[in-house]
């Protein structure tokens, strides 16, 4: 099934809204309203257009923002977790590790020991490049990792 450019443009609007306020809650009916499509069709249409379900896309954006804040600010990790949209520090830490492969504290320490990114490139581009590549769902990733550590499967690092 192909998607009309008119529909894609409206789906992009929902994606833009998540990009602009990823700390907010984005239930499907809110996104569907932005795109002017039914809630029943939204999630499937979004996934077809952008390659991942809207909720998963939102998670990547939140982690991306958290990574940027860990790198660029001295804010406590708790503050970063809440300001990027998580309701519990535990959930933030778990999903952060699942997606990036390390803890927020480790990432901050590692980022500080390396040189800052060039400031000649617009911020949005730098972030897009640093965006975590979330192809598998968080729970799938965790399962894969568990399997790997048990030595039952050797897959390349995704």
């Amino acid at each position: 099934m192909t998607q009309s450019p008119e529909l894609l443009r409206r789906l992009l609007r929902a994606k833009d809204r998540m990009d602009g306020a990823s700390h907010e809650e984005w239930p499907v009916d809110r996104l569907a309203e932005v795109s002017a499509v039914s809630a029943a069709h939204f999630a499937r249409s979004f996934k077809q257009a952008f390659g991942m379900p809207p909720h998963r896309y939102l998670l990547t954006r939140r982690i991306e923002r958290a990574v940027a804040m860990l790198r660029e600010t001295d804010l406590p990790i708790t503050d970063i977790a809440f300001s990027t949209g998580w309701k519990s520090l535990g959930t933030f830490g778990r999903i952060f590790r699942d997606i990036t492969g390390e803890s927020p504290g480790n990432l901050r320490a590692r980022a500080r020991s390396s040189a800052p990114a060039g400031q000649l490139v617009p911020e949005c581009i730098v972030r897009a490049v640093q965006r975590p590549d979330l192809k598998a769902s968080v729970s799938e990733k965790r399962r894969e990792q568990a399997v790997e550590t048990m030595g039952l499967q050797s897959t390349e690092d995704s």
Partner: protein, 140 residues
């Protein structure tokens, strides 16, 4: 300037709509608007930058076959075309003016790296970053 980039273009889904946006809202001027059959060569330029033309090109024949044109329209509507950057003297003032005229902003002005930037899209889906020039601080 006698050598350099003269024209670079973006794809748009509708050239009349794009013209109304880039000229009517952003304040560009029409540089060239000529037709040959169904083909329309349309370029605009920034009033402060007469040496550069921004082309507003619609995918389709005779340049593209129907399937290719369709793919380009899809990619455009998904916002997957390359980034564009507009430099302005005052990002917040321009933001207020453009938003009042109905420009679809994707990011309100944010202070970053000693400058201010915002983001908007044209009606087709092309994404623009609008960055405040840093020259006022004596960098030149």
């Amino acid at each position: 300037m006698t050598q350099g980039i003269d024209v670079a273009g973006v794809y748009v889904r509708d050239q009349d709509e794009a013209l109304a946006f880039y000229v009517g809202k952003l304040g560009f001027r029409v540089h060239t608007d000529v037709r040959n059959g169904d083909y329309r060569w349309l370029t605009v330029q920034h009033p402060d930058q007469p040496a550069f033309q921004l082309g507003l090109f619609k995918p389709g024949p005779p340049v593209h076959d129907a399937a290719t044109a369709r793919t380009l329209f899809e990619v455009l509507a998904k916002g997957a075309m390359p980034p564009l950057v507009l430099v302005v003297d005052d990002c917040r003032a321009t933001f207020e003016r453009l938003r009042a005229s109905g420009v679809e902003f994707t990011q309100e002005p944010v202070d970053r790296y000693g400058s201010v930037d915002a983001g908007f899209r044209d009606p087709s889906g092309n994404g623009w970053k609008m960055i405040q020039a840093r020259t006022q601080r004596g960098a030149q």
